[in-house]
């Protein structure tokens, strides 16, 4: 068995460049929005969440139905951008003060109550194509390959970032999240028990943030503390002090 040679770094970067040219995205590189957490940012190509692309977020466990954590995670991302945000829902159940607490001021968000998913996707796409907004968020249950590709192309064309919150009516339908779509990254946010405080009370919420799919990157999962008042996440204390090797080993064991 021949020993595996480590490829030279310039060879790798050359290959990356050629792939990018094939994808035709070089001219449209919009940069990335860093999370401000080194652990997460270095896992993502470009050092953050790619702008002008489609990203999917779903809740884990009961969160697949209520989408509470996914909504707040998304609001946190939108809060760190500049400009107006359009939030499309089928039926409204967001509580605006909570969105404002994640750093997304009420003056920046316009909500659309679409009534059904077909209209929602049409509004989602039109808003992306317009290009005047910074982020468009849509809460959908079904996202087919065709629909997601349309959204991705619209986002690429205008530079508006698309965030799709996947939210289903029943827990059993959440298996749909395994179906392939054209999104660039795919996240799952599940709640974790919070760290006990020295006094009675509830501390800052903690999430298990799974990066399930990432184009030109690897999967990873992080234990983070929920968005603060400016939409920023923070790494959980015990995770911050863990060595990368231990994490890789844990991931292997999980597979």
């Amino acid at each position: 068995m021949p020993t595996a040679r480590r490829p030279a770094p310039e060879m790798l970067s050359d290959l990356r460049e050629r792939i990018q040219r094939l994808e035709g995205r070089e001219a449209r590189a919009r940069g990335a929005l860093p999370f401000g957490v080194l652990e997460i940012d270095r896992r993502l190509p470009g050092g953050g969440l790619a702008l002008g692309a489609l990203h999917e977020v779903a809740g884990g466990g009961n969160g697949a139905v209520d989408g509470a954590a996914a909504a707040l995670f998304t609001a946190g991302i939108a809060a760190r951008t500049k400009g107006k945000v359009l939030w499309c829902v089928v039926r409204q159940d967001l509580f605006a003060p909570a969105i404002a607490q994640a750093g997304l001021a009420p003056g920046r968000v316009v909500y659309v109550e679409a009534g059904d998913e077909k209209t929602l996707l049409a509004c989602f796409e039109d808003a992306l194509r317009h290009g005047g907004l910074s982020v468009v968020i849509g809460e959908v249950a079904k996202l087919s390959m065709t629909a997601s590709r349309r959204l991705q192309l619209a986002a690429e064309g205008s530079g508006t970032t698309a965030l799709a919150i996947r939210r289903w009516r029943r827990q059993t339908e959440a298996a749909d999240f395994g179906q392939p779509t054209a999104s660039v990254t795919r996240w799952r946010v599940s709640v974790l028990p919070s760290v006990a405080l020295p006094v009675p009370g509830v501390g800052r919420a903690r999430w298990l943030l799974e990066l399930i799919r990432c184009r030109a990157g690897e999967c990873a999962d992080f234990e983070v503390e929920a968005c603060d008042a400016t939409g920023r996440l923070a790494l959980s204390p015990e995770m911050a002090h863990r060595s990368p090797a231990a994490q890789v080993a844990r991931q292997r064991a999980a597979r």
């Binding site: 359009l86 003056g107 317009h130």
Partner: protein, 473 residues
């Protein structure tokens, strides 16, 4: 009101007070005066009534592009393609009645598939607001009296003599003998009410509106052709608006079909607008909703709501970064989902969670106000608080466990209580009510916002039941 029919003077209208004194419409004037001494009598003015009705019809154009007077005492409005802008049929009717009530007119409204059925529903169904679902016209009309059928008085009384009293009885009869006896009008009215024969509405137009019109020698029907000509009409309308220094807030595009029916499209904009491309796009979105039938002869484009629009100063990029203009996008979406479904949230100074937000227009001025956030708030709020079963120590301990949607959860950590008092200064019923909110976390880390109605001590403050109101992230 006393009017003259032929050589007789009869009562043509009476107010509620007069009716309670025993007067009714159609009674001879002399009899009425004999019945009530000192009766205040006014001469009827049919021409004035018709004029007022016409003005009322022009006013009602704000609800739909197709409105016509339905003399002597009604308006007929074709709401096809317009009701979604008002949040559905029921919301539209309610708004209509409220607007009329505000100007001192007591209105009865009915909505149905056909003009005839709506006429009957509004006047004879016995309720102030009647909605006949699509396809339910026949059963809905069957029980109504013959008066609902818009027949001459003479014919109606003759039918009574023959023993008919409801529309259902008449509709079940063979047509030939009836037509032989009463002429073609009876059958036509029946067919019009049931929708078997079309009954076109000749919409009123207001004289001072900006309007452009195009007549076709050869009827058109293909969607591409309609789209092209609507583009040309928009260009012509904009030239007209520009001359007057106006911008359109609402456009009505009416199509006159060869079979004498009218189809309409209505679009609205959030701001006065004079951009041809944008307006054409808004109209083009809705062209697929109209049915050209055998072809379209006339197209009329009206700016039914126009506002002054002068030149706008564009912020210099040296001073400030220019905000991208999203008004066009909002118009596109609002015309698709309805104006009420596109909004921003704004804070309201209220401690009661469901009253602390209100919906405002997307382009409303942003004053930077936000909620006063001392306490974390759940990201999802249930439309209605759902009752949960709990076990908790009174008066101010969080529950030890609770059962929501048949799932029992043990409470690991909790915060609270956050006491919310009823708004006694606004509502009498909330003089003493109290809610105690807790944020609780279960074993899995899921967090919920639950509250107890009442302070846990005094029964007048609430039922002491527990409810789940929101889900935290």
């Amino acid at each position: 009101m006393i009017g003259r029919s032929g050589s007789r003077r009869t009562v043509t209208a009476a107010d509620a007070l007069a009716e309670s004194a025993g007067l009714h419409v159609g009674m001879p004037a002399t009899k009425a005066q004999a019945l009530v001494p000192g009766l205040a009598v006014l001469d009827a003015d049919p021409a004035g009534d018709a004029d007022t009705l016409h003005r009322l019809a022009v006013w009602a154009l704000r609800f739909s592009p197709m409105v016509a007077p339905d003399p002597p005492d009604g308006l007929v409005i074709d709401t096809t393609g317009a009701d979604h802008l008002h949040g559905g049929e029921e919301a539209m009717l309610r708004a209509l009645v409220e607007r009329f009530a505000a100007s001192g007119i007591e209105a009865q409204v009915g909505i149905a598939d056909t003009w005839g059925a709506a006429h009957a529903a509004a006047r004879h169904a016995g309720a102030a607001m009647v909605i006949i679902e699509p396809g339910r016209t026949r059963p809905a009309l069957a029980g109504l009296r013959l008066a609902a059928l818009r027949l001459p008085d003479r014919m109606r009384s003759d039918l009574h003599v023959l023993g008919f009293s409801t529309i259902g009885e008449l509709a079940g009869q063979p047509r030939a003998p009836l037509t032989l006896r009463f002429g073609p009008q009876l059958a036509r009215r029946l067919d019009q009410a049931f929708g078997d024969v079309p009954e076109p509405i000749e919409p009123v137009r207001s004289p001072d509106l900006v309007e452009v019109r195009r007549t076709f020698a050869e009827p058109i029907g293909a969607p591409e052709t309609i789209r092209r000509y609507s583009g040309k009409l928009v260009d012509a309308l904009i030239a007209e608006l520009e001359g007057r220094g106006l911008g359109a807030r609402r456009l009505d595009l009416l199509f006159g079909r060869v079979d004498n029916r009218w189809e309409a499209i209505r679009v609205g904009t959030a701001r006065a607008e004079r951009d041809a491309r944008r307006l054409t796009r808004l109209l083009a979105e809705r062209i697929e909703t109209i049915d050209p039938g055998f072809g379209i002869e006339v197209m009329t484009l009206t700016a039914s709501l126009a506002e002054p629009l002068g030149a706008r100063q564009v912020i210099s990029s040296l001073v400030e970064e220019e905000e991208p203009d999203v008004a066009g996008l909002y118009d596109l979406i609002a015309n698709r989902v309805g104006e009420r479904s596109l909004y921003r949230f704004a804070p309201v100074a209220s401690d009661v969670p469901e009253r602390s937000v209100m919906q405002i227009e997307p382009l409303a001025l942003d004053d930077g106000a936000s909620w006063v956030d001392h306490w974390p708030r759940p990201s999802r709020l249930l439309a209605r608080p759902e009752p949960v079963e709990t076990m908790a120590l009174l008066p101010d301990h969080p529950p030890v466990w609770f059962t929501w949607r048949r799932q029992r959860r043990r409470v690991r950590r909790a915060d609270g209580p956050e006491r919310v008092f009823g708004e006694w200064w606004k509502r009498e019923a909330e003089a003493a009510t109290v809610r105690d909110y807790f944020c609780v976390e279960d074993d899995a880390g899921e967090r919920f916002w639950i509250y107890r109605a009442g302070d846990g001590e005094h029964p007048e403050t609430g039922s002491h039941r527990w409810y789940l109101h929101g889900i935290f992230a």
